[in-house]
């Protein structure tokens, strides 16, 4: 072939238009896509770090009816992986945030101050809360120096209580049973990354029924916030946001569109921690604070006598009677209040809490070492709580059906083939009436209703599953059909229900119900 000037010029332009330009334009997005599939946290020895317990928040003042708190949401540098510094967003700069200890019937008022660079919204998960304090996704608390107009319009549409600047006061009446609740960020379109960065904490309600029980308490009652995170090689958190500033485009890179799964398991913010225990009973308030990961927990070795987990409470509070499990499936946002009896193990035994759904690093969660003998000071009574008085299905005045469908890569996730619209009402139950809601789905969706607690009536046409006992506010659908029943109240107003796989939630798998 003769290389004439014509031929060379044509070849050069063809190469430019066909290769150089496209490669130049696409190299950066391709690099971001590859990073998301290749990122791996620094190696950390498992079971070396002691289990931290989140501190309790102190009220700034109290009166006859109410405890008042101030919490500042701010950025902080902490050591999560030993030897590494990690930037987190925390309530009072802590991850998990400080635990709010509340009493049933006694009001709590929390002034949430926003010192972050983005808007926030705080939701008390499991709380029976008036709509203006429920943390509706567009009831944003802006940082003092961020203008409302700097966000796309839909981020602030359809509010319940309007937007605030700098701070907002949330009022929690706590007119509900003793239960393990948690509070977390709930900002429209950005719940996933903002919870991932650390905006989550426990909120425990106690009452006289629970006080009178001889359950493990004090240092033997421990909240466990289990979650998964991935870290860059410098120790900073990695989250595959489309827009890392969290001020523009929402959503995640395609590799995470079905949920972002971290490769490092944290419990109370520590990687694979260890807890020294005595050979007695311990109460663990387990919370799955992961964005998407479902855990199938098991003790290894299994206790030679008896069951691994004695469940005494669910999302909505104590069960009537204890329920034994060899394994415990816990999906995002669910809480299981369990007792583990370490008298089943000899002194010196290392008991690993494992995750049968995980592999490699994610197959382990934490470890208990039975280090000492103590006399048993607690017991699990055969009756824990008075009858739970679930609604009677015959009293239901309406049955509604909702289908949960995850979007294809890049697509929106939907409920009844509709993506979330903050100004559209998808159900309007009447105040203080009973309704049955039927859910069906593709896998996997932990479905959460704000305001109400419900009873799981059935799964796939049969009885409720082993993890459906008691009052629930989150029900896990693994391609299942589930029927729930709830009484809607005690407040009128607009609330949301949604998938608590936070990546699905941010891609619009959410809907409104308004109690009228």
């Amino acid at each position: 072939m003769e290389f004439t000037r014509r031929r060379l010029t044509k070849l050069g332009l063809t190469a430019g238009a066909g290769v150089v330009l496209p490669v130049g334009a696409l190299s950066r997005p391709v690099a971001r896509l590859l990073e998301a599939s290749r990122v791996a946290s620094p190696e950390v020895e498992r079971f070396e770090v002691s289990l931290p317990v989140p501190p309790s928040a102190e009220p700034i003042r109290t009166d006859e009816t109410t405890d008042y708190y101030e919490i500042t949401q701010r950025e902080e540098t902490v050591e999560i992986l030993p030897g590494y510094e990690t930037t987190i967003w925390g309530y009072d700069g802590l991850f998990p945030g400080p635990t709010i200890e509340a009493r049933s019937g006694r009001e709590v008022v929390i002034e949430q101050q926003n010192e972050l660079s983005v808007p926030v919204a705080v939701h008390l998960h499991g709380g029976v809360t008036p709509p203006e304090s429920d943390g509706y996704p567009t009831d944003l608390v802006f940082p003092p120096d961020l203008d409302h107009d700097e966000l796309p319009g839909h981020h602030t549409a359809g509010t319940v209580d309007g937007v605030s600047h700098g701070s907002k006061e949330y009022t929690y009446p706590n007119e509900q049973r003793a239960a393990t609740l948690w509070y977390h960020d709930h900002r429209m379109d950005f719940t996933g990354p903002q919870v991932y960065k650390g905006l989550a904490g426990f909120y425990i309600i106690r009452d006289e029924t629970e006080d009178d029980l001889p359950l493990p308490s004090g240092e033997k009652e421990i909240p466990l916030l289990i979650c998964d995170r991935t870290f860059r090689e410098d120790g900073e958190l990695y989250y595959p946001s489309l827009d890392p500033s969290l001020l523009g485009e929402h959503g995640v890179l395609p590799t995470a569109s079905d949920g972002w799964y971290g490769d490092t398991i944290l419990v109370n913010g520590a990687p694979w921690p260890k807890l020294d225990v005595s050979n007695t009973k311990y109460r663990f308030r387990m919370l799955n604070g992961s964005n998407a990961r479902v855990y199938d927990l098991e003790l290894n070795p299994a206790p030679p006598n008896g069951d691994a987990f004695i469940q005494i409470g669910s999302d909505g509070g104590l069960l009537e009677t204890p329920l034994s499990h060899d394994r415990l499936r816990i999906s995002p946002a669910e809480r299981f209040d369990v007792v583990i009896d370490f008298s089943n193990y000899s002194i010196g035994t290392e008991v690993t809490l494992t995750n049968r759904r995980g592999s490699g690093r994610t197959a382990d969660v934490m470890q208990f070492e039975v280090t000492r003998e103590e006399s048993e000071g607690s017991e699990i009574p055969s009756t824990i709580a008075p009858p739970l008085e679930f609604p009677d299905p015959d009293d239901a005045i309406e049955t509604r059906r909702f289908n949960f469908l995850a979007g294809m890569e890049g697509g929106r996730s939907t409920i009844n083939l509709q993506s979330f619209d903050s100004e559209r009402i998808d159900a309007n139950p009447k105040l203080d009436t009973v309704e049955i809601w039927e859910f069906d789905s593709d896998p996997d969706h932990p479905v959460h209703l704000h305001l109400v607690h419900f009873k799981v009536l059935s799964r796939n046409g049969g009885p409720p599953g082993p993890y459906d006992a008691g009052w629930k506010d989150t029900v896990f659908l693994h391609g299942d059909t589930a029927e729930i029943i709830a009484r809607f109240g005690p407040y009128r107003g607009k609330y949301v229900f949604h998938c608590h796989n936070l990546e699905h939630e941010d891609m619009m798998m959410m809907a409104n119900f308004e109690v009228v």
């Binding site: 004439t4 330009l21 496209p22 391709v30 395609p254 890049g410 697509g411 509709q418």
Partner: protein, 142 residues
């Protein structure tokens, strides 16, 4: 096919590099195709992060327009015009069908996120102009 050769004084840099006579319509049409390529590359870079299949699709469209632009500058033959017309006409038809389906069944068509809201309409107008230009050039070359 050959377009009427232009006098020496009207030869361009490209013409002197390639030894070709490149007419103004060729430049304009090739320039249109090239601009469409750049716009598709811009969309592809955004779409790739959102859904790689979409991104790859727009990248392929961009490369196609770029190769068309180059082909138009170097003594375009019958097949250059035919393929160019088919390619851009097909693109327009596909876009119209996708818009109709997206309007009737909004969740069935995944909306491509573009850097600028009205960008897709701008691009399709340019594609239409490119198509018309190709048809005009083909007619005038006969």
């Amino acid at each position: 096919m050959s377009l009427d050769p232009q006098p020496k004084s009207e030869r361009s840099l490209l013409g002197s590099l390639s030894g070709e006579s490149v007419t103004r319509p060729q430049y304009l049409t090739a320039g249109l195709a090239f601009v469409v390529e750049l716009l598709y590359l811009w969309v592809a870079a955004e779409a790739l992060l959102f859904w790689p299949v979409h991104g790859a699709f727009f990248a392929a469209l961009a490369i196609g327009q770029g190769l068309l632009a180059v082909g138009l500058l170097f003594d375009p033959g019958r097949w250059t015009f035919r393929l160019g017309v088919l390619f851009n006409a097909g693109l327009l038809v596909f876009w119209v069908i996708a818009r109709v389906i997206g309007t009737i069944f909004p969740v069935w068509i995944i909306a491509v996120r573009t850097p600028v809201d009205s960008l897709e309409y701008i691009v399709m107008v340019l594609v239409l102009l490119l198509l018309l230009s190709l048809i005009w050039m083909r007619k005038n070359s006969n």
